[in-house]
């Protein structure tokens, strides 16, 4: 009941622009820089496509990453009767699909979309895939890895899936794994007690909401971290292997504009980006007492120093 009242209040407070010819509702799985960057590219591309044409209104939802908030955000946009919903990340996309609305959905920022159960007649979008085995290989070239910590968010489907994949890959290389589920800030304490040689950060919203806190703890413990989301603020992730996000934002905008112009989502093929960039952070390495061998360093697309 309370949820319903809040929804009604929100609808009244955030009444959409009645002059807009088309309305797009956008949901981020979490308010993290990764989805923010996709959205920025999405808006820029959409504006260029509709410059001088139809007026497009974008209603952005940035819920706290949990099931109830994603569901509420999806319901609000359905209540607004938007023309199209765009969801960044698997949990947000799945929340929209769960509502069984007839509003078309375009997703972006999904890890391996073909594995994410986001298919449907009104659904299309783009995602990415990172070869997680490369992270294990680069860690092994840097130091002896007996135990790899996997930081994930148990409430986020894609984060859980990445964690499972990494666990399998590490075990194939005879590396033990320790799964660290971060669902609340209090869970960060788990990082202090663990004994691992390195940490893999899955692409979860919760883990990235508290990235600075996580890295601060790891720095004290002298544990290097690898991430599949870009560390644009150079906050101290030792290595990042990520898919450049602007291409996903641009493609989502391209798909969205086609749908707004009358194309059916089922006629637009989903796409998985596989291009990556590899960044090594030598400042973080210095704090951790790690020296990058030159043959490894030359693999990087970019080096932070």
């Amino acid at each position: 009941m309370l949820t319903f009242l809040f929804s009604v209040l929100f609808v009244l407070a955030a009444a959409p622009d009645s002059h807009a010819e088309k309305r797009i509702g956008v949901i981020m799985t979490g308010d993290v820089p990764y989805y923010g960057a996709i959205h920025e590219a999405f808006v820029a591309e959409l504006n260029s496509r509709f410059a001088g044409g139809e007026k497009i209104e974008i209603i952005l939802q940035r819920p706290f990453p949990n099931a109830l908030s994603w569901s509420n955000a999806a319901r609000k946009l359905i209540a607004f009767d938007v023309d199209l919903i765009v969801a960044y990340g698997s949990p947000a996309a799945q929340a929209v699909i769960h509502e069984k609305s007839s509003i078309p959905l375009v997703y972006a920022g999904l890890y391996e979309p073909e594995q994410a159960e986001v298919s449907g007649k009104n659904v299309t979008g783009c995602g990415f895939k990172i070869p997680l085995s490369s992270i294990v290989r680069y860690f092994k070239r840097l130091k002896t890895i007996s135990t790899l910590g996997i930081v994930f968010s148990g409430v986020e489907e894609d984060s859980v899936r990445q964690g499972k994949t990494m666990k399998e890959l590490a075990e194939q290389q005879n590396i033990k794994t320790l799964e660290i589920d971060i669902r609340s800030r209090a869970d960060l304490e788990k990082l202090k007690a663990q004994k691992t040689d390195a940490i893999f950060m899955t692409g979860g919203s919760l883990t990235h909401l508290w990235l600075d806190d996580i890295l601060s703890i790891l720095r004290k413990e002298k544990i290097p971290a690898a991430d599949i989301f870009p560390d644009d603020s150079e906050s101290g992730v030792l290595m990042t292997l990520y898919q450049p996000v602007h291409s996903q934002g641009q493609m989502a905008a391209e798909m969205a504009s086609k749908i707004l112009l009358g194309e059916k989502p089922e006629n637009i093929a989903p796409h998985t980006y596989r291009d990556t960039e590899l960044v090594f952070n030598l400042i973080a390495a210095r704090h951790l007492g790690i020296v990058f061998p030159i043959p490894l360093l030359i693999e990087a697309t970019r080096v932070v120093q």
């Binding site: 895939k129 990172i130 070869p131 085995s133 490369s134 290989r137 890959l169 194939q172 290389q173 292997l241 898919q243 596989r274 291009d275 990556t276 960039e277 590899l278 043959p295 030359i298 693999e299 697309t301």
Partner: protein, 305 residues
Amino acid sequence: MRRNSLAGTGLSRLVIACLLVCLISAAARPGSAAEQIEELLIGIEPEHNIFDQMEQYRSLAAYLSDELGVEVKFTIMSRYGEVIKRFKALKLDGAFLTSYTATMGIKELKLEPVASPVNLSGESTSQGYIFVRKDSGIRDVKGMLGKSIVFVDPATMEGYLFPLAYLSRHGITEIGKFFNRVSYSGSHASTIFAVLDGRADIGAAKNTVFDKLVHNDPSIHEELTLIAQSPKVPEITLCLRSETDRNLREKLSAVLLDMDKNSDGKAALKQFKAIRFVKSDKTDFAKVEEMVQEAQAAIADPRTN
């Protein structure tokens, strides 16, 4: 006049005698020149780690110096692509060359192939592999359209010439137009890692490096798949200038081919990471020359480089 004439005759005799001495000395020069050669300067094409490479060649230099009575020195020849230029600039007597540069050296500098080492796997040859990630969806040349390709260096058969020849055979000569990105990694290993990471969709590299990486990390075999393989050609060949004293060339060839028959030679071979040397001649490079012909149009395209 007569006295003058007599005096003139005496002087003439002296001059003739001097000339005869000079002519005799000159006639004897080839043999004595060989004895006077004090140093043989041999170039080496740079590999991934030049420090390891110099260490590898150090014992070979010592062994050859002892056996030939001539100081044999090795020098790294800067970048792959400048080998022919550096050969002239450094006034080298010879060089250990990979198949493409050896072919160019034979053609442009009239170098004479002498011998090729047999590696620890029992192979004196190498071949080029064109490979992709198994999950890339690329199965043939058609599937490569609009993707990114990473070569090793324009002076390698395995990592450049062969893929260009292969693509030409399939009607692709405008490399810069066919692929959305063309890059050069600088080493065979880096090319393999670039494809593993997703930093490039397609790679071309040497089988010996590929197989070694797979041997050390079998998961690589699970992730990559071969699209094409080149014919086998000599991996590395010692080539000498055609002006090199014939006796010295024959002696050097004999010393190399007999190295595995004595204990000092075996020890030097072990350090050199070879089991023996085998004789080489110009016909060994015919297949490379064929590839040069096939790839000519692609090489001429400025967008390839």
